[in-house]
Symmetry: C3
Subunit: 138 residues, 3 copies
C-alpha cells in the first residue's frame, strides 16, 4: 500500500537547515501502515535531504564545510548564464541528493538516538518548500 504525505517548510535560504523529523513521524502515525519504508524527497534542484545530529555546533560546522566546498561568492557559469546568483545552491544540492529512505516498524521510524532528518535549503532567497514523504508498506 502507498500513502503520500506532503507538508511545507518556510525557509530563509542560504543554507537554512530545518529539522523535519516530527513532520515525517506524523506522516507515518497518520497513515494506515505499521511497517515499511518512508522515502523523504525534496522536489527541487537547490535543496537536499540528509540526516544529522541536529544541534547548533554541528549545523554551524556543516554550513562552514559547504561554504568551503562550494562558496556562495565563487564563480559559477550557471550565474553567468541566468544571473540568478544561485550557482552555489545547485552544486550543493546535486552532491547531497534529493532523497533518503528510512525504514519504519510498528509505526516508528528506525532512526538512531541522535539522528534527525534534515531539510537543507541552499537557494539565495526565502522560499516556501513542499516536501514529500512517500510511504510504502503494510
Amino acid at each position: 500500500m502507498v500513502i503520500t504525505h506532503q507538508f511545507h517548510i518556510s525557509t530563509e535560504g542560504f543554507c537554512d537547515i530545518h529539522n523535519i523529523t516530527t513532520h515525517v513521524e506524523m506522516g507515518v502515525q497518520e497513515s494506515s501502515l505499521s511497517n515499511g519504508v518512508a522515502t523523504v524527497f525534496t522536489p527541487s534542484a537547490t535543496s537536499a535531504i540528509t540526516t544529522v545530529e541536529y544541534e547548533d555546533g554541528m549545523l554551524a560546522d556543516f554550513e562552514l564545510f559547504l561554504e568551503q566546498l562550494a562558496p556562495q561568492a565563487g564563480h559559477y557559469k550557471h550565474n553567468d548564464r541566468w544571473h540568478d546568483g544561485n550557482g552555489f545552491s545547485h552544486v550543493r544540492a546535486a552532491f547531497l541528493g534529493p532523497s533518503i529512505s528510512i525504514p519504519f516498524t510498528d509505526k516508528r521510524l528506525m532512526l538512531g538516538t541522535w539522528q534527525q532528518i534534515a531539510f537543507m535549503d541552499f537557494d539565495n532567497r526565502p522560499r516556501t518548500r513542499p516536501i514529500i514523504v512517500q510511504m510504502i508498506g503494510e
Copy 2:
C-alpha cells in the same frame, strides 16, 4: 507490486552527465502502477545518480567542482595497484552514491519544475551502461 524497467546509455566517460528523466518517466508510464516509488540505480562503482537543473552552466560548474575534489590527474593507490587509471572515478562515485528514490502519483514523477534526473559516468573510457528503475507501488 514490483516492476523492473531497464535501459542503456552510451557515454564518453570522464564525467559525462546524461539527463535520464524521460527514460525513467517512460518506465512509470509503461508500468501498470499509478502511485509508488521509483528507485533509480546504477549497477557500477564508477558512476552515480542524482538530480540537477540540467543546463550547460550548472553541468560545467559541477564538473569543475568534482575535478577540484577528486582530480583526474591526482595520485590514487587504486591506480598504483590496478593500472587502470580510474581511481578518480571510484572516489567520485562512492561520494555521490548509486541510487535515488523518487515518488510518483497518478503515473507522474513528483520532480520539481527545474529538477531532472542525472546519470554521471566517471569512468575513463566510453561505456554502454545499464540503468535500473525498480518501481514499487499500486
Copy 3:
C-alpha cells in the same frame, strides 16, 4: 510485503570501512521475497552507507579524500560544545548519507560486477553498530 533484516558490525571507528554485501544478500535469501528493493540504513549520525569497489587501494584513496574534506584534527564547534571530539564524524556522515536503495530480482541484488555495499563508521572509538535492511517486494 515488508521484511526487516537486522545485523550488527563491530568497528574500530575513525573511517573503518566494512564490506556488508554478504549480510544484505543473506537478508534477501532468507526472506520470502523474489523481487523488490532493499533499503540499507544506518541508524546513526556518525556513519554512512554507499557502494564501492572494495579493494585496499580504493579504500585508502577514499579515506584520504575524506580526511582532506573533513579532517579529523580540524576545528569543529560540535567539539567545542560537547567535548566528544567527533565533529569530523558528523560532517562526513551528513554528506554521505544514511541510506541506499538496491533493487533485487529473482532473489539477487542487482549490483555491478565490481560493486559492493560499504558501511563506513566515522566515530572516534570502537562501536558495535546495528544496520537495517528493509525489504519491500513480492
